[in-house]
């Protein structure tokens, strides 16, 4: 069993959802229940494999790549099919495998217009393939393929099933991200051509392998070259995170996307960018990272404050939550920019926490939209009176989002702020301490906009418009879909070591090249 898992585990979690999608394509469109069952079974099967991976994972060796496979793929350019899971990717893979079944359960009675369960669920499964693939890939080209792969299903999800301005939003999302990726592929190719040659089947060839490239970590590159290549990566990943000022695609994409799309976008897709920084950009180009770190840190804290201010100005609930994502990812990027294990551990934790919490917030927003047919904050109110359990959940999610200790969000924010006090050697301490104070200020603003949202939506009494409306509380599918998320937000808040002990060794290993500077 262990051998099977070692050999096929990583590949299975990547491609099984795709198989499920193909099965769905064969089933006629009218068999809705069958489609839902197939999708759910597929995602649960993937989840079960994921649990097996979690169980089989060697927690004393989290820095080592496990479930490792290295097969030849495109021999001419030495791009290989290399997959593996280590302490950095494991939490994110777990997050993805965890969120997708929940989204499918939620979708059971909640399909957006135009009603097409077959296509919609197939898109979700295809998305899952792309997302998991990105996290397990250890070859730059393979990574890039999966990284781009997720754009298409998301484009269709927003463009067909989205809100009023869906065409604009989906196109903007696609083109903006693709623009970043265009710069990134240049960086990838530059890295490839500058990489040292390794022997492959008797020939000496450049390599795309992240493992080899990390070992090389850009030794011997001219400093400016390293900076430029890192810049290419920065554009590709930074747009995805999204970092200020490349964030403007996010509010539109999130607002126009259907609920399930928003949840997946927030929970997982945004993490592809930050993961890219941690996995690729920093270990391979530590010198470039060093130069870029203050800039990234600065943009991160600007994002924290700016995102918060943007939130305060919003009149649409979903757009507010979208801006809060910008702010939260600011904390993640701040942690990353310090180039210290504290910071990056915090960043990865923050990624998982944000995924769960903001995913939860979007679920609630979607449910509010279902019941009230509007997300305009000034028309809402008194949710706690009309749908008390949902109101409670909203309060809970808001508290988690503003970083209340005892819930997961705190462990993403506080260690990130802490890490800024003592950034990696060679980075300017006063500058990063200034960032630290600004980030701490950001927590005040976060509390501000979240509690203000809570006050206007959940507290008070219902507005005249909805006074007599029949607003029903949570359904069974809502309970099933949301309870696991809530449980994990609490568990991770109380015992953060669940993630920290997994990531710590791996993060220290990935930063081993940076410390030298």
């Amino acid at each position: 069993m262990k051998d099977l898992l070692n050999g096929w585990g990583a590949t299975a979690v990547v491609f099984l959802p795709l198989v499920g999608a193909l099965v769905m394509i064969a089933i006629p469109k009218s068999e809705e229940t069958l489609h839902k069952v197939v999708a759910l079974v597929t995602s649960l099967a993937v989840f079960v494999i994921g649990v097996a991976l979690l169980v089989d994972f060697d927690y004393d060796n989290t820095a080592k790549l496990q479930f490792f496979q290295d097969k030849s793929w495109i021999e001419v350019i030495n791009s290989r099919y290399i997959v593996g899971i280590d302490g950095i990717s494991l939490p994110l893979i777990a997050l993805t495998l965890f969120v997708v079944p929940l989204v499918i359960i939620y979708s059971w009675n909640h399909f957006p217009e135009p009603h097409n369960p077959k296509a919609f669920l197939a898109l979700i499964l295809i998305l899952e393939t792309g997302m998991v693939g990105t996290f397990v890939a250890q070859d730059l080209l393979l990574f890039f393929v999966f990284f781009e792969f997720v754009l298409l299903p998301m484009y269709f999800m927003i463009g067909i099933y989205g809100g009023e301005q869906r065409k604009y939003a989906s196109l903007k999302f696609f083109l903006y991200t693709a623009f970043g990726s265009a710069l990134m592929i240049v960086a990838i190719l530059a890295t490839y051509f500058l990489s040292p040659k390794i022997p492959v089947d008797g020939q000496m060839m450049h390599t795309f392998s992240m493992i080899e490239l990390s070992k090389w970590h850009g030794a011997g590159l001219a400093r400016n070259t390293a900076i430029l290549i890192f810049g290419g990566f920065f554009m590709g990943f930074g747009i995805k995170v999204p970092m200020f000022p490349f964030h403007t695609w996010l509010p539109d994409a999130h607002t126009q996307a259907p609920t399930q799309g928003s949840v997946i976008l927030a929970a997982v897709l945004l993490k592809l960018g930050t993961y890219g920084f941690v996995r690729i950009a920093i270990p391979i180009l530590p010198e470039g990272a060093h130069w870029w770190a203050p800039i990234i840190g600065g943009l991160a804290v600007i994002g924290i404050i700016y995102g918060a201010l943007g939130c305060l100005a919003q009149t649409d609930m979903k757009r507010l939550i979208a801006f809060s994502s910008v702010a939260h990812m600011g904390y993640v990027m701040l942690g990353i920019s310090t180039l210290t294990p504290f910071g990056i551990n915090a960043a990865i934790f923050g990624m998982v926490a944000h995924g769960l919490i903001t995913g939860m917030l979007f679920f609630i927003a979607g449910s509010v939209k279902d019941r009230f047919h509007t997300l305009e904050i000034k028309r809402l109110g008194g949710l706690l009176l009309q749908a008390p359990r949902m109101g409670w959940l909203l309060a809970f999610s808001c508290m988690a989002s503003l970083g209340l200790p005892g819930l997961a969000g705190f462990w993403g924010e506080f260690p990130a702020i802490l890490s800024a006090y003592e950034p990696a050697a060679g980075l300017s301490e006063p500058l990063f301490r200034f960032y630290m104070v600004v980030a701490a200020l950001g927590t005040v603003l976060a509390a501000g906009y979240l509690l203000w949202l809570l006050q206007r939506v959940a507290f008070g009494t219902p507005s005249e418009e909805f006074e007599d409306a029949d607003i029903h509380d949570m359904h069974l599918t809502d309970y099933l879909a949301w309870t696991p998320m809530i449980v994990f937000i609490v568990i991770l808040g109380i015992y953060p070591n669940l993630i920290f002990r997994v990531t710590d060794a791996a993060v220290i290993h990935s930063l081993s090249a940076v410390v030298g500077h």
């Binding site: 964030h247 305060l312 006090y421 008070g460």
Partner: protein
């Protein structure tokens, strides 16, 4: 017992979940669970106290030659600690041991080469690993010493009494069960906070009590003013939390990467941390203290917090949560004492903030017509006393005042609740008056608590406040803290005056408004018994810390200063061993003067209200008086500054400006890029694709067309013409053949 203290916060936490889950179905709406849980907690706290007292009386022995250098701090002490352990285990008969738990923890046995007469009672620390980062493991656990034991007892006692009070007071409320659930959660959070062994844990507890405060202040959230107050409380506290986070982070790194309270304090006391860092950390943490403990200028949330139910005000905003800041200063006193150089200065930031708060807060109590607001400002003022005490170096005085204040202030708040219970109004001027005849128990308990507050000997408040003033006069550098002494004494007068005013409005005079129309009578035992218990406390608890210096040196040593003996920490983690640290002595002159000043305040108020003497109507006649009154009415303009100016502009124009920039500048740029590219594409299409390339394509077609037009003229259709071409061609060919050959 002392090693299993973690059970104590767990019980109310479980109660919280249980009440939410099944509370509504129970006959008393879940309050049974809450009261039961709190009763158990209180009993357990008393057990802990007994255990601690025993530990102090029989401290675990040190090595034979006593003066072991405190081999501590960065975990290197483990080897030494285990040696001492072995020795201690053999020699100590009865006292509880601290077991450094599972291998990775950092149990500390602190030995102080300290004062000869002082005993040293090491705290009981027990930790488990919470998480790891950067290869370093971080712990969560409990630390029990006199201070935490005291807090356990105070919190659980007041919480229990408030629970009992609430069963009557909040009966019939729209969210009765929910109320008790959050009372339990609050108690759990506060208990968790006070037994923290690490600063990270303290941050967690700090924020959790803030959450509960938010939930309880906004208990009647249907009405906007209540949810506004809740938000205000949370947000102002969050502003202070910037300081909390930054301060704790600085301390973490200054102590070479640990959150452990004992370690940080010990390093601070032994000079292993640079003074600048201690100062920065102290200043940062002071902002947190200012917000949480209602110090001027971040106090504005506290009066608004009175929008919550009265038991909440009694428990959270008088006795327990607001003292979280005081507790933090006390717990990290090594940092503050060295950071602010408290032992050698004549004025410092902390003392100044405390002094300003106690005066300015007290002044504001004069212009309130809501009894709860009077008490709220009184709390702010008394918290100022506590901060000032800590600021001048009178640690025990400050903590003792925390203790006595918790008791008599809770009594006052519950008394106010008792008065308002039937008329549902707290407005003294409009709806109360002459209640002493119809509510005797409330009246007398209120008066007793007031006497304690005004520091009339021998009530509790006298002993604590006097020690503070003595400290202000004697401690610190040469000459003490004269400014603090003056302001503290002034505060006594102010306190006497506004409390007398309140008593006049509530209990004397004619019954007005709602109290006139309502049938007013004394409340049931669930309300009055807590009041009586607390008022008895207000009389006697002062006597646990009777000094035996100066005028009172006849007091036997085994009886005097019991509180200090058991509560004040000993060991390297407390600056008590430093040369600059000392205790105030009892000064009969000061005691008499301060009492007289306080009574003068009472007298002046008495003359004003009972006898109608004094410049009544001054505010109408004098612009200056009116202006001063207005300043107080507008709370020094701080609320306008915070709510309207700062918060209003941030969430209004500034946020909108940011959004405008986002939509029109940043996104405008993105959209501009999009439209430009589209237009460029259109131009290329029109002018190059259509204009040039297509023209070439069309042109070739046209050329073919034209040449065809020209060449078709040769097609006449006439046979003879074709024949002529034939012969012509043949002739030419023949010519060529002939010539070529």
């Amino acid at each position: 017992m002392l090693t299993h203290v973690w059970i104590i916060p767990l019980i109310p936490a479980i109660a919280f979940v249980a009440i939410l889950a099944i509370g509504k179905k129970l006959p008393r709406g879940g309050s049974e669970i809450g009261i039961a849980a709190l009763a158990i907690c209180f009993v357990l706290s008393l057990g802990v106290a007994a255990g601690w007292i025993q530990r102090v009386n029989h401290p675990p022995a040190v090595e034979a030659n006593g003066a072991v250098a405190a081999a501590v701090s960065d975990g290197h002490g483990e080897a030494a600690a285990s040696d001492l352990h072995a020795a201690a285990e053999e020699t100590t008969p009865a006292a509880e041991e601290s077991h450094p738990a599972e291998s990775a923890s950092s149990g500390h046995e602190e030995e102080a080469s300290g004062h000869e007469e002082e005993h040293v009672t090491p705290p009981v620390v027990r930790t488990v690993t919470w998480f790891q980062s950067n290869g370093v493991k971080f712990d969560v656990g409990t630390m029990i010493d006199g201070l935490s034991t005291l807090m356990l007892v105070v919190v659980s006692l007041i919480s229990l009494l408030v629970h009992v009070f609430s069963t009557d007071y909040v009966a019939g409320d729209r969210r009765y069960t929910h109320f008790f659930a959050f009372l339990s959660l609050f108690t759990a959070s506060m208990l968790f906070y006070v037994i923290s062994s690490s600063t990270l844990q303290m941050i967690v507890g700090w924020e959790l009590v803030g959450l509960c405060s938010f939930a309880l202040i906004g208990h009647w959230w249907e009405e906007k003013p209540n949810s506004d107050a809740a938000l205000k409380a949370f947000l102002v506290n969050r502003v202070g939390d910037i300081g909390l986070l930054c301060g704790m982070i600085v301390l973490f790194f200054a102590a070479k990467g640990t959150f452990d309270v004992v370690t940080i304090n010990t390093m601070a006391n032994e000079g292993q941390i640079r003074h600048m860092l201690l100062l920065v950390a102290s200043l940062s943490l002071m902002t947190a203290v200012m917000s949480k403990s209602g110090q001027f200028i971040l106090h504005t949330w506290l009066p608004d917090a009175m929008a919550g139910p009265t038991p909440v005000s009694a428990l959270i905003h008088a006795a327990t949560m607001v003292v979280a800041g005081i507790y933090m200063v006390a717990r990290l006193y090594g940092v503050f004492f060295n950071g602010f150089s408290i032992g050698t200065a004549n004025i410092n930031v902390m003392a100044a903030i405390g002094a300003v708060t106690l005066v300015f807060g007290g002044l504001l109590a004069f212009v309130q017509s809501d009894i709860k607001k009077v008490l709220a400002y009184s709390t702010i003022s008394q918290l100022g006393y506590m901060v000032m005490a800590l600021g001048v170096g009178a640690w025990t005085a400050g903590i003792f005042h925390l203790f006595t204040h918790a008791i008599f202030k809770a009594c006052l708040f519950l008394g106010a609740g008792s008065m308002a219970h039937h008329i549902h109004s707290f407005d003294m001027k409009k709806d109360m008056g002459g209640l002493r005849k119809v509510m005797p128990k409330t009246f007398w308990t209120f008066v007793i608590a007031t006497c304690a507050l005004v520091a009339v000997p021998p009530f509790a408040g006298f002993w604590s406040k006097d020690e503070i003033l003595a400290g202000a006069g004697q401690l610190g550098g040469d000459g003490g803290y004269p400014l603090m002494l003056i302001m503290g004494t002034l505060g006594a007068a102010i306190t006497g005056a506004y409390m007398t005013r309140a008593i006049w409005y509530c209990f004397f005079g004619e019954r007005r408004g709602a109290s006139a129309t309502h049938e007013m009578h004394e409340n049931g035992p669930r309300i009055t018994v807590p009041l009586i218990i607390l008022s008895i406390g207000a009389i006697v608890v002062g006597l646990v810390n009777v000094p035996n210096t100066g005028f009172l040196s006849w007091v036997p040593g085994s009886y005097a200063l019991r509180f200090e003996h058991y509560v004040e920490p000993t060991g390297a983690y407390f600056p008590g061993g430093l040369e600059t640290f000392s205790h105030p002595e009892f000064n009969i002159v000061l005691a008499l003067v301060s009492t007289l000043v306080g009574l003068t305040g009472v007298l002046l108020a008495y003359l004003w209200y009972w006898k109608d003497l004094g410049p009544h109507g001054l505010t109408e006649r004098s612009r200056l008086a009116r202006g001063g009154y207005k300043v107080l009415e507008y709370k020094y303009g701080l609320d306008i500054l915070y709510v309207d100016v700062i918060a209003g502009s941030v969430k209004g124009p500034i946020a909108r400006a940011a959004n405008w920039v986002n939509q029109n500048v940043i996104d405008g740029f993105v959209n501009l890029v999009g439209t430009s590219v589209r237009r460029a594409g259109g131009w290329v299409y029109k002018y190059i694709d259509q204009g040039v390339v297509d023209t070439l394509v069309d042109g070739s077609g046209a050329a073919a067309d034209v040449s065809g037009e020209v060449l078709r003229k040769a097609q006449t259709g006439k046979v003879q013409a074709y024949g002529a071409y034939l012969f012509l061609g043949a002739t030419v060919l023949a010519a060529i053949f002939v010539i070529a050959s």
